[in-house]
């Protein structure tokens, strides 16, 4: 492996991917950085002027800004919590000797294949709609006033939808991890007198730590960028109750056509995302070796 020749080749082989991604990252990033210092509204292209730090100031003084950060975190953590806990639970269930395991697995995995906007549309119209949704029908069946999900619990509803989409992913990874658990270890614990719940907490969970880390890493990357589900369902509302950072930028870019402001927001988001990334790297780097 380690001859000079192979090392040279390795550098050559690595290069295309790294260069491509670097260009893909740096060019838009620089342009965005540049725009973020401009007064640039797409609908007024003639009126572009140098803005200095104004866009940044404007973005973070937005009353929705702090709430959007809070919502971003709640969304990410909420979905992570549901998917990890739910995924663990479902993985353990599927791992049991059940009839029709294959079909069960297919059913559980299915939401992962649904496009985010479609998922949001389905949940919004078919499931959570306060008049026509299935949940409303269920509520009425029990004689309860149907819940108006998107008005009363907007962020929770979005968390539910997103968690539904990502649950299969978490389940699959956790299931694979679970199946790789050494049965002799479990038997040893049984011989050692550990009851089922102790075996779960002392053996199964620590064993899955690595898989859970990966679930968290991958999902966080995707969850930070969630916007389609919000756009389709609550449009960030009511008020700003379900506006996350990405959606806030979306609003600036696609509703106000405020390119400068959106760019500034984008840069802020990149910085925050990288803070999260560094944090994750620390956590994951430790767990991934």
């Amino acid at each position: 492996m380690a001859t000079r020749q192979t090392q040279g080749l390795a550098r050559l082989m690595r290069a295309p991917a790294i260069i491509l991604l670097f260009v893909w990252m740096i060019v838009p990033l620089c342009m965005t950085l540049y725009y973020s210092f401009l007064n640039y509204n797409m609908l007024n292209p003639g009126m572009t002027s140098w803005a200095g730090w104004f866009n940044y100031q404007y973005f973070y003084t937005d009353p929705a800004f702090l709430e959007s950060i809070r919502n971003t975190l709640v969304l990410v953590l909420g979905v992570l919590f549901i998917t990890v806990v739910g995924g663990t639970f479902i993985a353990m269930l599927i791992d049991k000797p059940i009839w029709g395991q294959g079909i069960v697995r297919i059913l559980v995995i299915s939401p992962f294949f649904v496009m985010p906007p479609v998922a949001a549309l389905i949940w919004k119209n078919m499931i959570m709609h306060p008049s026509y949704g299935v949940l409303a029908d269920v509520a009425r069946f029990f004689g309860v006033q149907p819940v108006d999900w998107f008005a009363q619990y907007p962020l929770t509803s979005i968390i539910l939808i997103v968690a539904w989409q990502w649950l299969p992913f978490a389940t699959l990874i956790l299931l694979t991890s679970l199946q790789s658990l050494d049965t002799e270890q479990m038997e040893a614990a049984e011989m050692d007198g550990a009851p089922a719940y102790s075996r779960f907490f002392y053996l199964v969970l620590p064993h899955m730590a690595r898989a859970i880390t990966v679930v968290i890493l991958i999902q966080t990357i995707f969850l930070l960028g969630i916007y389609a589900e919000i756009l389709v369902t609550t449009n960030g509302g009511p008020g700003t109750a379900s506006t996350n950072l990405t959606f806030l930028i979306y609003r600036a870019a696609r509703l106000n056509f405020d390119i400068g402001g959106a760019a500034a927001g984008g840069i802020i988001a990149v910085i925050l995302a990288n803070l999260v990334a560094i944090f994750l790297m620390r956590a994951v780097g430790r767990n991934l070796d």
Binding site: Q185, E187, A189, E190, M191, G193, Y202, P206, H207
Partner: protein, 333 residues
């Protein structure tokens, strides 16, 4: 105390009867080794005793009490697994403490026992490492440590040395033997390595296809194997078996002579052959002789060095008093 009695114990997996009904008594303090070829049911039998598998029939008594339906934890046995089955995310200390923690033993008592076990097993300086940071032999000791602290009435070992390299294996073998000498606790030990079986056992149980072929002390088995299977299985290098005319000479269907009971000579002897590969270990030499009158290669062991080379013609003479004779059923005559 640790007397274990199996009465008509049988095991089926679905349709397949892996262990036909079988009786066996293991006395308190005995070191019993189960040997047999791969797949013969050694592990299964051990797991039945441990309670990790349900019996399909029969009863298991531990110290005279019926334990057939007791949970593994209740049987008071400790098991050392082939893979050691250490908990990889716990330190050595925590690994050893685990069964005591599960039993709700008070902390000071736990610590006392951990110290004692670590000292006995030479693990004191590794107590805070993770299993991943230990060598094979050290892991093995941790697994034993985890078993010892429970002060079980018997230890069960499932091929505990098969993952170690040859040199370590010798060392660990001695350690386990010493441990037995010291603790005098019943030990049941599964292996398919006859050297281990021979050197460690008070009593060897030879299994084939779930049936017990012979039970006895190592030397009993060496000197008087009950049948061809045991004869071929016990002893290393394995016994040379002859059929046909050679065996007929001795009025048997099959005869067997161990490599160490054949004299080799460049000049005279009973059977003629040609030296194939020869191995010179300094202390011993092994010759693999292709006999002209014999069906298979004959292995001959000779002390010290003998000046024979590849291709030399040699004569072999068996030690008449050490020839084993078997009838058509393969049973000892």
């Amino acid at each position: 105390m640790g007397q274990i009695t199996l009465q008509g114990v049988a095991k089926r997996f679905g349709e397949v009867e892996v262990i036909p009904p079988l009786d066996l008594t293991i006395e308190d303090g005995e070191f019993v080794v189960f040997v047999g070829p791969s797949g013969c049911g050694k592990s299964t039998l051990l797991r039945l005793i441990a309670g990790l598998e349900d019996v399909s029939g029969g009863r298991i008594l531990i110290d005279g009490k019926d334990a057939t339906d007791a949970s593994p934890a209740k049987r008071g046995l400790a098991m050392v697994f082939q893979s050691y089955a250490l908990y990889p995310h716990m330190s050595v200390r925590k690994n050893i403490a685990f069964p005591m923690k599960m039993a709700g033993m008070p902390k000071p008592e736990q610590d006392r026992r951990i110290e004692a076990a670590a000292k006995a097993l030479n693990l004191t300086s590794y107590l805070d490492r993770r299993p991943g940071q230990l060598s094979g032999g050290q892991r093995q000791r941790v697994a034993i440590g985890r078993a010892i602290v429970r002060e079980p009435s018997a230890f069960l070992f499932d091929e505990p040395l098969s993952n170690l390299d040859a040199a370590l294996r010798v060392g660990m073998r001695l350690e386990i033997s010493e441990l037995h000498n010291r603790l005098k606790t019943t030990m049941i030990y599964v292996t398919h390595d006859q050297v281990e079986a021979m050197t460690m056992a008070d009593k060897i149980v030879v299994l084939q296809a779930g049936r017990i072929e012979q039970v006895g002390s190592p030397l009993d088995l060496y000197h008087a194997p009950k049948n061809v299977f045991v004869a071929g299985f016990i002893g290393s290098p394995r016994m040379n078996l002859f059929t046909g005319a050679v065996a007929a000479d001795y009025g048997a269907q099959t005869i067997g002579v161990r490599p160490e009971h054949i004299r080799i000579s460049a000049t005279t002897g009973k059977w003629q052959g040609r030296v194939g590969v020869s191995e010179h270990l300094g202390s011993d030499s092994f010759f693999y002789v292709e006999g002209t009158g014999l069906a298979e290669t004959v292995t001959v062991r000779s002390g010290g060095e003998v000046g024979l080379r590849h291709g030399d013609t040699v004569w072999l003479t068996p030690d008449e008093g050490k020839i084993h004779k078997f009838d058509t059923n393969g049973d000892r005559i």
